[in-house]
Symmetry: C2
Subunit: 289 residues, 2 copies
């Protein structure tokens, strides 16, 4: 008897994300490993045929094992290499652990707080994505299940050097993570020397969201910049991040800051990610620098 | 009566490219405009719902009006801005005219020869993609329908300053465009000061092809480099180009070389495209610089 398989000869199982009403990406699936309706979203873990394991939330790809390194490296290393000496980091979202794993590559890190609203995401990470979630067992890390907006509002001024917003798309509970009151909280948390980064969707497909989010950030920060990287399984294959400081230039990594073991990030890639093509730079018009 | 539509309420028409056996990209289609079996390939022109018109050859996306600028700008402007004074350019493939359109943005250009093997591609371009094919009516441009490998073998030494290889995927008639004898022809055509660029597929999915093509180029050129750009409707959403010279650094645009009217290319984007992430740089191991 053969090993159990989700499909018979002549049949195939595919995960298809309708990324926009007119654009879809499909990954062939060997078998689904877990499906659950959490209090917040539909959660799916599947073994794909050639992208490793897949985590989808609300029907959208959060990560595949094959291409998660683009996103997690660029979300973590750009702000942490730009900051002069990051020690205390807050990660909002990212319950799978991928962002925390990258944060811990920086030797000066003393403490990481992770705030994930959906306990099921943390459970799925621990069960099915050990290469990401193992980071959550590091003694410097504390995992909080709760609302990131409330957590940020309650934390103390200057409690963190960097905040990384590893959110889902701006629907449901994530909407507030793209708005000005939240960024004002974060500005208070990181103080005048701190740095904040937020994933900000596709520069090709979501230009209006990038513009609105940049304006919201600019209400709380003196300097808001955009940088880009590829993420093959995200809509359009290209992604963006907004990074905010009270004046420091986020595009220049400090000497010696390069984390080891990366597959996408280097100091040269860091600087290059800020070389914006005109079509993407247009999203930041009127935001200052 | 409503306007004719390819679909009824409740039905949708989709173009789906199986980019690998396990990965597919789908674009919603309003109607197909032209389908033809040419002597070389299946040709499809369709009106998509939000990516403008689509040209597919052999079932693979060649361009959509919405995202063709990434590819055509980076194929043309990197070599032409890096060369010290390009006047005569050979484009192999690219019968749609998009690459020639970008070449003509450089004011010093005196002559462009385009060699397209499939006359149907040129016809489809002229009929359905005027924003690309209008460039082919420029008096500096000559369109040759024929085999690019034979054309290059027959052309004279030093006839061109730059050759841009705008090929389809390496199957069928395009296979030879990725091999050493062809690159030796091109080295002869451009001479010691010339520059050659070839599209070289996805750095995530086609690393072995990039490595093999780079080695083939290195048999004829002293310096072979790789650069990257996003192309949302191509497999993995990220694409690569191999560029070859007899020593000149292709990563630095000459001052004042920047073409006007671009949406992706700038001199800073040019330099940034050569900042390779480690996973992509690995494809060039053993090729020298």
């Amino acid at each position: 008897m053969n090993a159990p398989s989700a499909t018979s000869p002549g049949a195939e199982l595919w995960f298809t994300e309708r990324q926009t009403p007119d654009l879809a990406l499909s990954l062939r699936v060997v078998r689904t490993l877990w499906q659950e309706t959490t209090p917040y979203q539909e959660l799916l873990v599947a073994e794909t045929a050639s992208f490793g394991r897949l985590l989808a939330l609300g029907g959208t790809v959060q990560l595949t094992e094959r291409d998660e390194f683009f996103y997690h490296e660029m979300l973590a290393h750009v702000p942490l290499a730009a900051h002069r000496a990051p020690r205390r980091v807050l990660v909002i979202g990212g319950g799978d652990g991928g962002t925390v794993r990258e944060v811990l590559r920086h030797p000066g890190i003393e403490r990481v707080d992770l705030v994930e609203i959906d306990a099921a995401v943390v459970r799925a990470g621990r069960e099915y994505f050990p290469s990401l979630s193992a980071a959550l067992d590091d003694p410097r890390v504390r995992v909080h299940v709760g609302d990131g907006i409330a957590f940020a509002a309650a934390a103390g001024a200057g409690d963190y050097d960097a905040v990384l917003v590893d959110s889902t798309d701006p629907v449901g509970p994530a909407v507030g993570l793209f708005e000005a009151p939240f960024f004002r909280s974060l500005a208070r948390l990181v103080g005048p020397q701190g740095i904040v980064v937020a994933q900000s969707e596709s520069p090709l497909l979501h230009g209006e969201l990038i513009a609105a989010t940049a304006h919201a950030m600019a209400e709380a920060f003196a300097r808001v910049s955009l940088y880009l990287c590829p993420v093959p399984t995200y809509p359009s294959g290209q992604w963006s991040f907004l990074v905010a400081t009270q004046g420091a230039d986020p595009s220049r990594p400090r000497p010696g800051a390069s984390p080891s073991g990366t597959r996408y990030y280097t100091p040269a890639v860091h600087a290059a990610a800020f070389a914006l093509p005109p079509y993407a730079a247009a999203h930041l018009e009127g935001v200052g620098r």
